[in-house]
Point group: D2
Chain length 362, copies 4
C-alpha cells in the first residue's frame, strides 16, 4: 500500500485528463444500515460504530471510488447538541475518527482522502459571520492535522465570486437528481468560461429522480426522507448519468444521498474505456446485464444485453401512487423563527403548531 | 454472550407465543454491496469476503432479527460449476464459512442460527431423485456438523403432504410481495387446520411490490433483477406487512430478496408492544418518523407523525414509466431443453437464440 | 325506407349467425351535450329537445348500430319526481317521444327498435313487489302500443332462474369495462350451457377502464361521474373489445355509458369481415389509423398502421394522478335508510351528514 | 331573434369589460360523431351533413358560447385536393355553407359569427407569398360576402410585428393545453405592453393535458390523434382554466380541439359572477357537482360539493401506461421534401419509407 504522500494528488489527476470517480452519500446509506438517525443526520457512527463506516468505505473503494470523503457531515458541536440531541462524542472526536477511517481504507487502494466541510445550522439561525467561521475553522483544523488530501465544501448555496476564483474544482452536490445537476454544472461552466476563468468540474447528485422538485430540492418533496424508494435510480440510470456528465466536461463524477456501492460501480463501468480499467467489484458484475447469461431461467438469460436494459421503463408496482409530487413550499428563509436552531428538543406544542400549519397547506 | 446451547430454541419460542423476527435476503443486499454476482447468485462471499457477510449479519441482528440464516443459497457444487462459473472455493468450504459467520454474530445477541437448505439446478435439469437428494444431503451434513439450531428449506414449490406433516413451521419465502405472501400463508393455515394438523407459520416475502406478477413471481417481471428499484417497499409498507402478518397468525416474520436492515427494523418497531422490546438499532431511529422532530427545516419537522406517513402515496419521479408490467411467460417447465443446466458458459449462439425468442414475444 | 314490419327481427338475425351491433349510452353522451342532468339522469330530453336525441340516434346508426334503444332510462313517474325534481313532462309523454324518435331514425336504415325497460328507485326503497311491477307495466304499455321490436331489461342485478329461461338473449350492460363484461358473459354462458339451456349473448359495457372497481362497479369509483375522462377507451381498445366479445361467442355487441359514436364505429370496423360490410360512417374514417396517410406531417403519416396503434400505451398527461383508485364502500344495501327515495330535495342537513360520513371514511 | 346588425360587436363587448366565451373545436368533435375524417381534417360536413354541424353549433350556444366560429378549417381548394382526396364540394361551397350555419344558430341567441381563416398547406410546400395570399383571399371573400362579424386567423405560428399592430385581439389557439396557453398569452401581453401597444387577449387551447409537449405541440405526441383520451380535461380542469385565464387578463376565453359542449359550459359556470348569468345549458347541470344531491346512492350524493372535485386526482384506470410521453422530433421544417403537399395519395412506397424512419427513431 502506497503512503498517501506518494499518490498523485487530485489536481494532477484532473490536469492529466483522468476521470476521478467519487464515492456516495454516507448519511443515507448508513441510516438504512442502522447507524445514522434520520432527522439530526449526524455522523457519530465514525466514533461509535467504526466497523460499519469502514465497511462502507471499502465497498465504495471496491466499486471504483478514487476518493474517500471523510464521514463528517454535520460534525460540528452546535449541530451535535441541537434540538435535545445528547451524544457521547465531541465534534473533534468524530472528525478525527472519520479522518482515520477514510485514510485507512484509502490506503488499501489508490484513493485520496477528501475532508468534507459541512454546513452548520448557525448560519440559518442568523449567527454572525465570525461565529459561523469559527465553527468551520474548528472542523478544518482537524482536517489539516490529519493531513487530508483536499477539502470539499458541501451544500453551499450562496457562493460569492471570490470563492469561484479560489476553488480549483467547482460543481454541485446533493438536493437534485443527476439530470438537473449535470445541467447546472453546464451553466456553471459557461459562467466560469465567460468570466475568463478556468476550473475543473465535479457533480455529486442524488440517486433519486426529482423531476418535480422546486428550487430547494428533495427536502421539500413530501416523500423526504422515508418514502423516496420509488425514486431510486437503477444502475442503467447511472450509466446514463456517467455518460452525460462526461460529455458535459465533468471529470470528477460521484454521488450523494441515495448512492449505494453498486451505483458507483455503474459509473466506473460506463467509463471503463475512458479510465482504462474496471473496478475490483466488477469481478462480481457484468456490465449492462451480461452476468445474466449465467442465470438458470432462459427468459432471464434473454435479458443479458444492453439494449434490453436501455429501453426498459421500469414499473413502480404502485398503481395507487402518482408519478410526481407537489413540493412543500413554506416560504421561510434564513432568519425566520421556524428556522432558528435550539438546544432543547422540539416541544409537543411546537410540533402541534407545525402539524396544523402543514394541514392547512394541503 | 450466551452459548447457543443455552438459548431457547425456535419451537419453544413460538410455542410460548413469542414473535420471532427473521432476517433479510443476503443475495440481493450483497449484490448491491459488490460481493454477489447477479446471474449465478452464488454465496462464495462467505469464504471470500467474510467481513462483508459478517457486517450484514450484524446489521440484521441490530435491526431486531432473532434468527441468522446461513448465507448458503445455491451453495451446492453443481450450481457453483454451472454455466462456466469457476470459483476457488468448494461448496463445503462455503457452507462451513457461512455457518461460522452466522454463529459468531448470533452469539453477539440472543439469535438462533438457521441452516438455509437451498434448491439445486439438478432438479430442473431432470436429474434422478437420488441425485437430487445426494446434493441436499451434502449440504445438510455441514449444518449437522456445525450444529445449526434449525433448518429452513427455501423456495420449494412442490411440497408433498408428508412434508407438511413433518415440518414444524410452514410458510412462504421469496418471489412475491408481502401482501401476496400473507394471503398465501392464510390459505396454507386454512388447509393445515382443515386437515386437522397443527403448525407454526412464517413468511419471508420480497421487499418489492409485485401486484402484476404471474404465478412464477418476480423473476418473470421484465424489471428482474436490475430494474426493481421503483418497487422497493418503504418502511411504512413494512409496518403494514408486520401488522397484517401478525393478524393472520404468522409468528415468524422475516424477509427475503430486497430486504435491507431498515426493513427488518420496521417490522420489529411495529411489533414493539407484542415483543415487549425495541431492537438495538432503534437507538438511531424514531418509529413512524418521530425522529424528524430533530430536523432543521420546520416543514420536515411537520412530517414527524404517523398519519402523515400512513397516508402518503409516494411518487415515483418517473413520469415516463408505467405502474405495472406484463410478466414474461415462456411456458417452459421442468425438463425443457432451455432449463437444462450446463457446465460450460452460455454460448454466443445460445444467447442469440434467446434474444430472438424474446424479441418475438414482444 | 323499409317499414319495420318487413325487417328481419332480432332473433332471426342472431339465429342466422349475424353479428348485431348495438348503440351506446345516451345518458352520458347527452349529459356532455347539455341535455341530461347528472344526478337524476332522467331522459326528459326525448320530449324537451327531440332534435338533440334524434341527432345522437343518427350518429349511432351511421356508426353501424343495428339497434336503436329508446331513450327511456329512468322514465318512470316515481323517478321523475324524486328528490325535488320537477319536470314538465310525464313519464308517458317521455316514453312515447322516445319511441317515436328511435323508430324514425331506425327506419332511415335497417335498424330495429329496442324498448329499454328501466330500473326504478321504488325497488331499492323497499316498495312491494306489486308496486314495483306496476311501474314496469306502465312503461311496457307504451312499448307495446308503440310497437317496438323487442325489449331490453337493463341493469337488473338479481335475475331469478325463470328469467334466464324466458329471456332469448342474456348478457351484461353498464357498470364495468369491456374486459370485465366479456369475462362475465363467458361465465353466464357456461352456466346456461351447464343447465342444458340455450341463449344468445350480448354485452353492452362501459367505455371506461375500470380495473379497480369493486362489485358495485363504476358508481363507487371516486371519479364517478365527473372525473372519468382519463379512463375513456380509445378506438383501439374498442377493436380489442369487439374481437374478444366475438371470440367469446357474443353476437350482440354494443355499449353503455361513455360510448360515443366513434366507439361503435370501431366495433363495426373490427368486425367488417364477419359482418360483410362497413358502416356508412367509415366513409369518414380509415380503420386502424389508415386515414392518417393523408396527414400533412410525415411523422403523423408514419402512424398510419395497425401495429403502431396496437402497441401504443397512451400516456395520461397527468403525472400527479395515480393509475388506480380505491372505490367507496359504504356497505349500505336495499332497504337502508340512506337509499330511501324521497320526493323532496335532499336537505342541507342531509347533505352535511353525508359529507361528514364521507370524510371519516378517508 | 335579433338580426346580427343590432348585436354589440366583439370589440364593444371587450371594451366594455365583458367576458366573451368562445366555442370549441369542431374538427375533433365532429370526427368523433362521424362527420370529419382524421388525417385530411377537412370541413366538407358543412355542406354534406349540415344537420350535424348545426346541432354542434346549438350545443355550444346552449353551453354559453358568445361566438360561433364558422366551420371552415382547411377549407381551401389546395387542401381539399391534397393527397388523393376527392370531394364533391368546392372550397367556396363549403365556406358558404359554414357561414350560413354559423349565422343561423348565432341568431338563435346573442352570439356573433367569426370567420375562421385557415392555414394552408401551400405555405409549408414553399409556394410563393403571392400564391399563399391568393388562397387566403379566396376564403376571406366569402366571409366578406356572408357578412361575418369578425375574423380569426388560426394557427399562425410566425406573426410579424405589423400583424400584432393591426390585430385588435391577440392570443393563442390549439396545440397546447390551457396551462401552457395561458402562460403564453401572459408573455404576449407583457410584450405588447412593453412595446407600448394595447390589445385584447384571447385563448383557445386544447382540451388535452400536454405537459410533455415539445415546441410543436400535441401533433408530435405519439398519442395524436387516436390515443388522446386519457388526456381529456375534466370539467374541474376547465373551471381552473377559466379562472386562470381571467386572472391573466384574458377576456375572450374559448377552446379548440378536444372541447366538447360541457367543457364550454364549465367555463361559463366558473365565470358566472363576472358575466352575470349562467348559460341555458346549466338548466341541466349543477356547478361543481351540486346536481349529484339528486343521485340515488348516498355516497354519490356525498360528492355534491366543490372541495371534493377540486381535490380529486382522477385515476386513469390504465396501470400499464405511463403518465408522460416523448414527442416525435423529426426535425423537418418548412421546405423539407417530406412536408411537400401532393395531389396524389401517399403511395405505399412513401408510407413504407416513413414507417422505417419511425422505427429507427425508437
Amino acid at each position: 500500500m502506497a503512503p498517501a504522500g506518494e499518490k498523485k494528488n487530485i489536481l494532477k489527476r484532473l490536469d492529466a485528463g483522468e476521470v476521478v470517480i467519487g464515492d456516495g452519500g454516507f448519511v443515507f446509506a448508513l441510516e438504512k444500515r442502522g447507524y445514522v438517525k434520520a432527522g439530526p443526520w449526524t455522523p457519530e457512527a465514525a466514533a461509535e460504530h467504526p466497523e460499519a463506516v469502514r465497511q462502507l468505505h471499502r465497498e465504495f473503494l471496491r466499486a471504483g471510488s478514487n476518493v474517500m470523503q471523510t464521514f463528517t457531515f454535520y460534525a460540528s458541536d452546535d449541530k451535535l447538541e441541537n434540538r435535545g440531541q445528547t451524544l457521547s462524542f465531541t465534534g473533534r472526536q468524530i472528525n478525527e475518527a472519520a479522518c482515520d477511517l477514510a485514510r485507512e481504507v484509502a490506503n488499501e487502494g489508490d484513493a485520496l482522502v477528501a475532508g468534507g466541510v459541512s454546513q452548520t445550522p448557525a448560519y440559518l439561525s442568523g449567527k454572525t459571520e465570525e461565529e459561523v467561521k469559527a465553527i468551520f475553522i474548528k472542523q478544518i483544523d482537524v482536517f489539516v492535522q490529519k493531513n487530508v488530501d483536499f477539502l470539499i465544501a458541501e451544500v453551499c448555496r450562496k457562493l460569492k465570486h471570490f470563492l469561484l476564483e479560489s476553488a480549483d474544482i467547482v460543481g454541485i452536490n446533493c438536493h437534485f437528481d443527476p439530470e438537473t445537476c449535470v445541467k447546472t454544472v453546464k451553466l456553471m461552466k459557461e459562467g466560469v468560461e465567460k468570466a475568463g476563468l478556468k476550473a475543473h468540474y465535479m457533480s455529486q447528485p442524488l440517486a433519486f429522480h426529482t423531476p418535480d422538485c422546486g428550487c430547494q430540492g428533495f427536502i421539500d418533496l413530501p416523500e423526504f426522507p422515508f418514502g423516496l424508494e420509488p425514486r431510486i435510480l437503477t444502475r442503467m440510470d447511472m450509466h446514463k448519468y456517467a455518460r452525460e456528465a462526461y460529455n458535459a466536461g465533468i471529470r470528477y463524477i460521484g454521488g450523494c444521498c441515495g448512492f449505494e456501492p453498486y451505483h458507483i460501480r455503474a459509473l466506473a463501468e460506463e467509463l471503463e474505456a475512458e479510465r482504462g480499467c474496471l473496478p475490483a467489484g466488477s469481478e462480481k458484475h457484468g456490465s449492462w446485464g451480461s452476468g445474466l447469461s449465467l442465470h438458470t431461467k432462459p427468459w432471464v438469460r434473454a435479458r443479458a444485453r444492453r439494449d434490453y436494459w436501455e429501453k426498459l421503463k421500469p414499473a413502480s408496482g404502485r398503481p395507487f401512487c402518482p408519478s410526481m409530487s407537489t413540493p412543500d413550499s413554506w416560504g421561510v428563509t434564513k432568519g425566520h423563527a421556524d428556522l432558528m436552531q435550539q438546544k432543547e428538543a422540539t416541544s409537543k406544542e411546537q410540533l402541534e403548531a407545525l402539524f396544523d400549519k402543514a394541514s392547512q397547506g394541503h
